[in-house]
């Protein structure tokens, strides 16, 4: 009897440990995404095929080509067909018509969740893509960020210099200390958080936005509205306005204004109080090369690849492990090194409320 009990116990113990071991194996195998080697091996079978990637054109896409598309093409023998500009309504039209010609698209991160939940995007497979090292909030099941950049304040250094320079993005409200023509964006996404900051709110208190906060922001914006001479709509406008000295202070996108500085135009950027946003890779629903697209995104998110773009244009990587590959000098201009002074954009809040906020913004601006 004792023998049988012992045997039974041992058998049970063996079975249990075998069960646990199998669970561990499958468990970790399921949670573990592909390593660099795994990605390389998986990509080997796609040699000779092509992938269509759509981005925004201009200097940004040129930098992407040098940092991502050409290395990827050479290494894996896969042809990359580029297209531009990325247009969300085009994605919607393609998915509706069931004729999707784009495989990977670079889109503003705050639109991705909305697009995804409406059924226009493929869910990303995190067994392929490694998202463990990405900045918080810069990925979801619909998108993986590719760059982190800032909406911030730019100003002319020949007008404000020495001791009298703007030190915080909210200085645009200070008409007495910094007089002159100004420009804000015709869009609520940065103006609302910036107005709250100008009204005295702390950085971490801003998101999630509530009705009371939005009302408070609009009241603060009423103050500055009569002083704004230009409301810009295109990304290329603020650098142009600053170059022409049409305005002396303008909010804009950090990469574009920093490029001016490199070209010798007397402008500078102000990081404190800026908003950190991102651009993400998305895959439209029904894309023909779904798995290849996932592998591309996984490859581009690897720490050894995610940082190259930042050497060519002032947009930061999103993989925390790639930060250390940048020199200190490059890092100083990167939005990601200023995280403590920036508002971190809440992409999912904007994804769900963008439509309503656009309408409210429209009503406010026509008052």
């Amino acid at each position: 009897m004792q023998n049988r009990r012992q045997v039974n116990q041992t058998l049970a113990l063996m079975l249990a440990s075998l069960f646990l071991f199998t669970m561990m194996l499958t468990g970790t195998a399921a949670a573990k995404p592909l390593t660099a080697e795994g990605i390389h091996n998986a990509l080997a079978k796609y040699r000779g095929e092509s992938l269509t990637i759509t981005s925004w054109g201009g200097s940004y896409q040129d930098a992407q080509r040098k940092a991502y598309y050409e290395p990827f093409s050479h290494k894996f023998g896969i042809k990359i067909i580029e297209d531009s500009p990325a247009d969300n309504s085009k994605i919607m039209a393609m998915v509706k018509a069931k004729n999707v010609t784009w495989d990977v698209v670079d889109a503003g991160s705050y639109k991705c969740d909305n697009l995804g939940e409406e059924g226009y995007l493929e869910e990303l497979d995190f067994n392929i893509i490694d998202n463990r090292d990405l900045l918080d909030g810069f990925w979801s099941k619909w998108h993986v960020a590719t760059i982190a950049w800032s909406e911030l304040l730019g100003y002319r250094t020949d007008v404000f210099s020495g001791a009298n320079v703007p030190t915080h993005c909210t200085d645009i409200w200070n008409v007495k200390k910094f007089p002159g023509r100004r420009s804000l964006r015709d869009n609520p996404i940065f103006n609302i958080p910036l107005a709250l900051l100008a009204d005295g709110m702390e950085l971490h208190e801003i998101y999630p936005l509530t009705e009371a906060k939005i009302q408070r922001a609009f009241n603060k914006l009423d103050e500055i509205k009569p002083h704004i001479n230009v409301w810009w709509t295109q990304g290329a406008q603020p650098p142009q306005l600053l170059t022409d000295k049409e305005v002396v202070m303008a909010t804009g996108w950090n990469g574009r204004i920093s490029t001016l500085k490199k070209d010798g135009v007397p402008v500078d950027v102000v990081f404190p109080g800026s908003q950190l946003v991102g651009d993400s890779w998305i895959i439209p629903k029904g894309a023909k090369k779904k798995e290849l697209s996932m592998l591309f995104i996984a490859w581009a998110s690897l720490p050894e690849n995610n940082w190259e773009l930042s050497t060519m244009i002032d947009y930061g990587p999103v993989n925390k492990r790639s930060f250390k590959r940048l020199t200190d000098e490059t890092l100083a201009n990167m939005p990601i090194s200023k995280v403590e002074q920036s508002i971190i954009c809440d992409f999912s809040w904007w994804a769900h409320n963008y439509s309503d906020m656009v309408e409210r913004w429209r009503e406010w601006k026509l008052q």
């Binding site: 247009d87 969300n88 309504s89 919607m92 909305n114 697009l115 409406e118 023509r181 015709d186 001479n229 230009v230 409301w231 709509t233 022409d244 000295k245 049409e246 305005v247 963008y354 439509s355 656009v358 309408e359 429209r362 009503e363 601006k365 026509l366």
Partner: protein, 301 residues
Amino acid sequence: MAPQQLEKEERSPAERPFARQLARLERWEKLTYLAFVMPALLLLAVLFVFPIIKFLLISVFDPTFTLDNFVRAFTRPVYLRIFWKTFEISLMTTLGALFLGYPVAYLFANVPTRVRNILLPLVLFPFWTNILVRMYAWMALLGHNGVINQLLVNGNLIGEPLPLLFNRFSVLVGMIHFMLPYMILTLYSVMSGIPNELMQAAASLGSPPWKRFYRIYLPLSMPGVGAGCLLVFILAIAFFVTPALLGSIRETMISQVIEREISEAFNWGFGAALSLILIVITTTLYVIYNRVMSIEKIHGE
């Protein structure tokens, strides 16, 4: 007496079969013309009319039948304000183009052909230039540090630069600049049909120049004025590029709202509703114009 004889001849039995044959020939002629036009009509119907109707249907089938989009367009005051602003700007553009274009068309219709052949390209060349290039040129001219302001300030004519850009003035300048060729060419096509002899006859009878113009020339050019104004107004209410580039937020026009709703806010239903309202307004204007003026006068049938 002569016409009555002709009528009697027509009614004689020998003549009647001819009338029937003539009617049949006319019908065949019309069908042949229709056959020639059919391919183009079909292309237009399939590639243009059908997709537009499909798009406009999204305004009520969003995805199930709903009138919410139209309710929203009519009850939220901001959209009515934008529609009103669009009409205001379009009307001012039309009147501006008319007052600036009428003298130019008059000149074209009344100078020798040699001179006209030199002047006409001056109107047509900007017509053929891309609108974006022209708008950016206006931005360079009218800006705070633009060409005009720099000339005035450096020439010590004024102290501070004039606010010439990003306001109603710059939008009107841009739009009238774009619309002038349309207005001038439409007016000219009608004015060239007004015989010079009429004015000369009035002069020989002792009529002063202003009276000649007011009583004879102006009424005869009215179809051109009407057609030109209608064309310019219909083009203007759908304008997007000029108010977006040259205007401030107080000059937001309805097409900018439609563009935002479709490409940024993903509200295709609402964008389609606003588009449908715009199309209905345009068609109504055209119908009214049809009643007031006779279309044949312009097409010369």
